[in-house]
Symmetry: C2
Subunit: 156 residues, 2 copies
DNA sequence: GTGAGTGCAAATGCTTTGCATGATG
DNA sequence: CATCATGCAAAGCATTTGCACTCAC
């Protein structure tokens, strides 16, 4: 069995290859900057904002504008997901690779903690509901807002 | 059986009473401006942005700042829900009264149409998942992004 | 009367855009 | 070598904040 770290590296590499294919299919250019941004974004350990990603890249010469433009492409390619957490005014993204797909979020409204859970069954239910409306489901957002165990106790 | 319109008026009136109680319980003041904004927000036919609501109120002298401040209170009182639709950069709200509670959204990524569906069963599933993590679920966001029937057909 | 609420305008922060320059196919 | 991508800086919005004035309690 491979180490978890190796798996992740492989996963990111595969995703980058996928991204290259996506760019070519759309007649877009495969540039160093795009690959740089994509790699950093896909290697992020969890949720991140565009500004945070930029912070991790600006020393390498990437501009905010390009970070935003590339995040959009990554989202369209399905490699990154834009998600919505409580209390944040800006957009938050997360890498959306194999092992990370099909999860939902439980966001604590008190401490901001985010708990991830497997959401395949709920997504399946949502898919059926969508079909009943003639709607073709491509992506599911399943999220709960409330209090995590700790805050539940500390707030009484 | 009462007319639908009458029901809605009653519903808004009840919600306003609830809001007053909420304000008093929190030691906040019941002001004309707050009630004005609340009434307009709760009477909105569907989803709206803070700016749209302000547009419907500015002639009556309410300022943007107060609209934002009051929307926050309404959300805390559970009378308005902040929801997340595709493609919008700003926050979108919706009245969240009796008949409208417990629904999810299917958002078409092509035309922007929003289909609402009853989500009680899915919410129940989410609640169980949350409990399993010791999380106390207060609000559920269940949403699908994809293509509506029309766009599915027209895009081939 | 007193403290909270409000309007106003300025500030902030995130995101997008226009344009000249540079890299890719 | 024609185009598309990039960086930079400026513009655009949505949202928040500071402050003097006003109103609910």
């Amino acid at each position: 069995m491979r180490l978890k770290e190796e798996q992740e590296i492989t996963e990111v590499a595969e995703a980058l290859a996928h991204f290259e294919g996506f760019l070519r299919r759309r007649g877009l250019k495969v540039t160093k900057t795009r690959l740089l941004i994509a790699e950093r974004a896909l290697s992020m350990p969890g949720h991140f904002s565009a500004t945070e990603l930029w912070g991790a890249l600006r020393e390498q010469g990437a501009s905010v504008a390009t970070v935003y433009r590339t995040l959009e492409l990554l989202a369209e390619a399905g490699l990154v997901r834009r998600c919505i957490l409580a209390g944040t005014s800006g957009a938050i993204y997360e890498p959306y690779l194999g092992r990370r797909r099909h999860h939902g979020h439980l966001v604590c409204r008190n401490c901001g903690r985010v708990i991830e859970f497997r959401s395949q069954d709920l997504e399946e239910g949502l898919r059926r509901t969508a079909e009943a409306h003639g709607f073709c489901l491509e992506e599911a957002v399943i999220q709960g807002i409330g209090l995590c165990r700790q805050c539940r106790e500390s707030l009484g």
